[in-house]
């Protein structure tokens, strides 16, 4: 036994030795440290839109133009891209990988390239999109859609959403709608349009005053305040069917309703018990709880995306200011400390910012602030700007502005850049709200 174990011992020793000796050079050839690679600035990617190709059948200028226009608008607003339509002569002009010459696009200074092709037959249109990284010669996204001619814009928006997803990891909001209040009929009715101002549809037709639309989290329902029965009551409407239900019946103001992220509850300012206070209702209108209770005005509740907190406006210290409370009404603290008059808070879907507006020199300007009260940042400066509402990806903010004289719907990036007028025509449009993804 002893001899045996001695043999084994020798074996083990030698094995260990061999292991140690063999392993050492392996380690040493491995990577030894880190060097920092850093560069200044934040560059925009050069995004080129290739002329849409007719894959078979005739050329259709309308479709081709729509593809380019929509991409240009979406991608320019997006932010990370500088969009162009460079004139590049290609020896082969296919749209599939390998069917065209990437080098000529690279020579034109392009980083990203959108190739598209369409087939029009009768009313039906089939469009194929491909996004390429010109430098690495890789295809980043590819989709084909078939629809009617009316769908072309939405189809292009859909691929824009895909591009954002491929490039940033977060889907774009370009297929979303914006609901808003317009005085087109000289009353205040609620309308719906594409986020870029196209395809305007009228939602309410009651000839009265309709205010403050807000989408349910699934985008299928809209709540708003309407004077249609005299008193400003809250209504809920199913967009697809047009069915409408009255949510509140109590007299007094029932305004600034906000759907909870769970889609089952509504936070609402009601004055049924004397003055405007914030209540929690089921979406059918049953009162679940009263969240504020004092002599001051409390309006404009705004849910945090995790539904744990609600920002709101109160004038308990004299002038309206933004406060935050837990969603059971406890733990109230003041959010805005600078500016005499701050209203209209809205929590970013990413949870990291709250947009609100501040009265400044006779008008309003939009700010964002961190929920802990730091990072107060002014986003707008021109004209009077109100009613900020986030896009579902938290990248953009829709708002209303009087900078052009008449009040209109605008959109901008969440850092205040890229402010663009969306609503067109001679109406006065206000209270925009960006829909969730459908």
């Amino acid at each position: 036994m002893k001899r045996c174990s001695a043999g084994i011992r020798v074996l083990i020793m030698s094995a260990l030795l061999v292991a140690v000796i063999c392993a050492s050079p392996l380690i040493l050839s491995g990577q030894q440290g880190y060097l920092e690679v850093s560069a200044p600035g934040n560059r925009q990617l050069q995004l080129a839109i290739a002329p849409p190709a007719a894959l078979s059948g005739g050329v259709n200028q309308d479709v081709a133009r729509a593809i380019i226009d929509v991409f240009k608008f979406d991608m320019t607003l997006a932010g990370p891209f500088s969009v162009s339509e460079p004139q590049v002569t290609e020896s082969r002009s296919g749209i599939r990988p390998g069917d065209f010459d990437m080098a000529s696009w690279r020579a034109a200074g392009t980083d990203l390239l959108i190739k598209s092709g369409y087939v029009v037959s009768g009313d039906s249109v089939s469009i194929e999109f491909r996004l390429y990284d010109v430098l690495t010669e890789k295809e980043l996204a590819a989709k084909r859609y078939t629809g009617s001619k009316r769908d072309v814009r939405r189809v292009v928006h859909t691929f824009s959403d895909d591009i954002m997803s491929a490039m940033t990891g977060i889907r774009g909001p370009f297929t979303c709608k914006i609901a808003f209040v317009s005085t087109a009929t000289r009353n205040k009715e609620i309308y719906l349009m594409d986020y870029d101002g196209q395809n305007i549809q009228r939602i309410t037709k009651n000839g009265s005053i309709n205010l403050y639309p807000d989408f349910s989290p699934n985008g299928r329902e809209l709540i708003y305040t309407s004077y249609k029965k005299g008193n400003p009551d809250l209504y809920r409407r199913e967009l697809a069917s047009g069915a409408e239900a009255r949510v509140t019946t109590a007299r007094g103001t029932n305004i600034t309703g906000a759907f909870a992220p769970d889609g089952n509850r509504i936070a609402l300012s009601m004055s049924k018990d004397g003055n405007a206070e914030i209540y929690l209702l089921s979406k059918e209108g049953k009162q679940l709880s009263r969240l504020t209770n004092n002599d001051a005005i409390e309006i404009a509740p705004a849910w945090s995306p995790d539904a744990k907190q609600i920002a709101f406006v109160s004038d308990r210290l004299g002038k309206p200011q933004v406060y935050i409370m837990d969603s059971d009404g406890r733990n109230v603290r003041r959010l805005t400390t600078s500016g005499a008059y701050n209203v209209g808070p809205r929590w970013s879907p990413r949870g990291d910012k709250i947009a609100y507006c501040r009265q400044m020199g006779g008008g309003f300007q939009i700010f964002t602030i961190n929920p802990d009260g730091t990072g107060d940042t002014q986003l707008t400066r021109e004209g009077s700007n109100e009613h900020p509402r986030w896009s579902p990806d938290g990248r953009f903010i829709a708002f209303s502005s009087k900078r052009g004289g008449r009040e209109s719907v605008y959109i901008m990036r969440s850092d205040g850049t890229g402010q663009t007028k969306i609503s067109r025509g001679g109406t006065s449009d206000s209270s925009p709200v960006w829909s969730p993804r459908w």
Partner: protein, 255 residues
Amino acid sequence: MNPSVKRNDKGLLPTLPVSLIFHLAIYGLFAWFHFFPSAPVTEAPVYYVDVVNLPVASPQQGSPSAAGTAPSPPPAVKPPAPEMKLPAKESGQKPAGKPAKAATTPTRTAEESSKEFEDRLARLQQSSDARHEAAAMDAIRKKAAVRGKGQAGIPGGTGHESGSDYASYIRSRLVDAFKTTIAYQDKTPRMTVILTIDKNGRVLKRRTESSTGDRLFEDAVNRAIVKAEREFRPPPNGGSFEYGFIFTAQGVGKQ
């Protein structure tokens, strides 16, 4: 009790050499790594050390994510110690100091309050100075940690691995390429990539060790590598080369 003790004694004996060998082996490993004395200390790798890379607000205008970070003002520059000789010394400190004096001297009338004010100001200044000093020191330490590893080199190298000079050469290629590709959307993007470069100077392997998850930034890093690769010279000694590179956006994430 007794019998068991005896048996244990007997049992420990044979394991002793094994343990000895093992300890020796471990010691050997450590020695090889860190304390090998006869290191053929080749010439100290040439490093130009930018002393402190103090945070700077992103100068980029109009580009959306940059503008997002711009509003946070760069902290007033305050050199942590005189021997640091920061170029920003004059511009940063004097303006902070002068107005303070100017503000306090004329208000001698109300001595109590002015003194109080002065005290508070001094305290404030002190605390903010301390903060900046800490930040600067931190930055240096971080740098040193990063550099140190590279600088330590591989004494007793077998010739198989390449020296750190090649690493800084690769770094300079990457920096140049990265300047033309950098883009990000998060506030403090950071990505650590281990590059393996074969004996022809091609990128054989590229693995992401860690990333803050900013897709736009990751793409920019990948583009930089693809761009830089075209200019890589083969590693010295005809071997392959592996090294880690930490990509960051300049002027952000250093606070």
